[in-house]
């Protein structure tokens, strides 16, 4: 009886292993196909930006030639990468980078402070304020944009960098994200620092902020993407090239009689690069923060 059992065991194991192997193969193939579908527009964009003939780009679309460039050239980048003139996309890129850095930098400070005070401050009506913050989150940006435009134009802020930065520094979503992160840190840390003689601001700066790297990274990325992709707001509040961001500038290609696909593609790659770099720099914390908040609820 036992001999029989021993002799049949390897065949069973082999069958199971081959079934697991096939399943893994199907899984890997499916993941590859999905990844290709997601990455293909990006690949097409980069390839097209390296082609110097805008009619060829148009002709290649819809075939596999869209993913292949026989003679790559950086001529399009040289053409759009100026700091002044008609195609001053270098300037627009710098504008966008400045707006991004200022909004994210100030946003991290303001939203983290607000989140900290809501989580740990001895503030009257803390629960009410938190409820209001959460309620504000459900109001779409577009619904308040016209009153905001009127406000900033009356304040004489149109066509400035400040108008693209200040209104978006404080955000209910990011305040809530910071609040959630700070609230789950142990109370004893706050109390120990208090006993050590730290003021509330010092506790925030020296203890809680250095511990909130995952939250800082998450907010940096989310806020960075949001700021970088701002389109409606800058189109309403900028009239000249002075403070125009790259997203608005790219759109000007598509308003003309003839679309310069080669330049548009190169400008789009320029626009994509900084945000991709930001994500790559912070993605470890970004992922861990989202996983953490998912597990802890």
């Amino acid at each position: 009886m036992s001999d029989l059992a021993i002799s049949t065991l390897p065949a069973e194991v082999t069958r199971k292993r081959s079934a697991i192997g096939s399943l893994r193969l199907i899984q890997t193939a499916s993941i590859l196909v999905i990844a290709l579908v997601i990455v293909s527009p990006l690949l097409m964009l980069i390839v097209a930006s390296l082609k110097d003939d805008r009619f060829q780009i148009l002709a290649d679309m819809g075939s596999f030639r869209a993913f292949w460039v026989p003679n790559p050239t950086l001529a399009n980048f040289a053409e759009v990468g100026n700091l002044s003139g008609e195609l001053a996309f270098g300037r627009y890129l710098l504008n966008s980078l400045f707006i991004l850095a200022a909004t994210v930098g100030a946003g991290l400070i303001v939203n983290s402070m607000a989140g900290f005070v809501l989580a740990w401050g001895s503030l009257r009506g803390r629960a009410l304020i938190l409820s209001l913050v959460i309620a504000l989150y459900v109001i779409p940006q577009e619904s308040i944009i016209m009153p905001l435009v009127i406000m900033v134009s009356r304040a004489g802020m149109t066509d400035t960098f400040a108008v693209q930065i200040v209104p978006w520094i404080a955000s209910p979503l990011y305040i809530f994200l910071f609040y959630q992160f700070f609230a789950q840190l142990p109370k004893e840390l706050f109390e120990a620092a208090e006993m050590d003689g730290a003021s509330v601001f010092r506790i925030y700066r020296s203890i809680f902020l250095p511990l909130s790297l995952p939250a800082l990274a998450t907010v940096s990325i989310l806020m960075g993407i949001e700021t970088w992709n701002q389109y409606l707001w800058p189109i309403l509040v900028t009239q000249t090239a002075y403070a125009r961001p790259i997203a608005v500038a790219i759109a000007t290609f598509f308003g003309q009689d003839s679309i310069y696909w080669d330049r548009a593609m190169a400008a789009s790659v320029l626009m994509m690069l900084p945000i991709l770099a930001l994500y790559l720099a912070f993605q470890r914390w970004f992922v861990s923060s989202f996983v953490g908040s998912a597990v802890k609820g």
Binding site: P186, E188, A192, E194, M195, G197, L211
Partner: protein, 348 residues
């Protein structure tokens, strides 16, 4: 160093009172332990002392100064938390020196005082490590180092050993006691472990339901508990208590077992008869009992017996051959009998 006075201190959360007018005097340099079951208010009282909880009524004085409305950082006290509460992103040295840095001490002075504290606690080789690179016992020592580096007037410990394993707890217990003997800083130590309280404290405060049940030296509490709660809370295994009444010059339990009274006892008629397990011995003649469970621990033997229908524990220093179900006779040491009233208060 400073004395601590707690006068009629009350704490209420809304309409719910949790501390009902507690008073005690802690002398300069004394080691006092607050002990009691979960929810008795001992940690709340310690946190009020630290300034981490508001005081609903009464007064707390540290070094003769009323500190009711004084911020924690201005009370000149240091606290060791149950969870250690070390700053995870700072090294051991930075953790220990943080309070001094906030005080504006110079780098050289901070280094010197951190080194001094590290020497006392044998933390020298660990100064550059992060808390996550330390064992539980080492983290506990860092938490103590963070407290002693400040040279505070009072140390507060909030169940600092409860996250450690049993063996390490014994070692750390001795280290804390040794530290107190060297530094002589007034210490208030909260624990739910009566062994910890007995072994470490100069005086113990037993609390229950937000009230002080008894304050005294460890052996005073052990030898003369003021009531049945203290009698059963202090000592392990707990004191045997039998309910009953005096009849014919003896104490007769509810199950009809007659126990001898201390010779010449003329006090209030007791309703509860108490005897510690080690003061109940096996004798040729005495109160009949039946062995239920025998637990040899090596140094002593714990025996659970039935006296009538009531369980009783014996702790025997000698090794004995006993079998479950075996009939024996036990006799109490009459000089060590504790008698309590119906309300559970000591009467002898």
């Amino acid at each position: 160093m400073a004395s601590v006075t707690i006068e009629q201190v009350r704490k209420e959360y809304g309409a719910v009172p949790v501390i009902h007018g507690v008073s005690m005097e802690i002398e300069d340099g004394e080691f006092v332990t607050l002990v009691g079951p979960s929810g008795c208010g001992k940690s709340t009282l310690l946190r009020m002392l630290a300034g981490l909880e508001d005081i609903s009524g009464g007064e707390i004085l540290i070094g003769g100064r009323v500190v009711n409305d004084v911020a924690p950082k201005e009370r000149d006290i240091a606290m060791v938390f149950q969870s250690y509460a070390l700053y995870p992103h700072m090294t051991v040295a930075e953790n220990m020196g943080f309070a001094l840095k906030l005080k504006g001490e110079g780098k050289a002075a901070i280094d010197r005082r951190v080194r001094e504290a590290a020497d006392i606690l044998a933390l020298g080789p660990l100064l550059d490590r992060l808390p996550k690179q330390l064992s539980g016992g080492q983290r506990q020592r860092v938490a103590m180092g963070r407290a002693i580096v400040r040279h505070p007037q009072v140390f507060l410990f909030d169940e600092p050993l409860s996250n450690l394993d049993a063996k390490l707890r014994v070692t750390m217990r001795a280290e804390i006691k040794d530290l107190h003997q060297r530094l002589k800083t007034t210490t208030v130590y909260v624990t739910h472990d009566q062994i910890e309280a007995m072994t470490m404290a100069d005086r113990i405060v037993v609390m229950r339901g937000g009230r002080v049940e008894q304050i005294g030296r460890p052996l005073e509490l052990y030898d003369r508990p003021a009531n049945t709660f203290v009698a059963t809370f202090i000592g392990s295994p707990a004191m045997n208590l039998f309910e009953g009444a005096i009849a014919d010059g003896r104490f007769v339990t509810a199950s009809g077992v007659a126990l001898p009274l201390p010779p010449g006892y003329r006090g209030e008629a007791p309703k509860v008869y108490g005897i510690r397990p080690e003061h109940l011995t096996i004798a040729e003649r005495g109160v009949p009992a039946t062995v239920v469970v025998v637990e040899p621990t090596g140094s002593e033997t714990h025996v659970l017996v039935k006296l009538g229908s009531t369980d009783a524990n014996l702790v025997l220093r000698d090794r004995v051959e006993l079998e479950p179900g075996q009939p024996i006779a036990v006799t109490p040491d009459l000089a060590k009998v504790h008698l309590f009233s119906e309300q559970g208060m000591r009467v002898n």
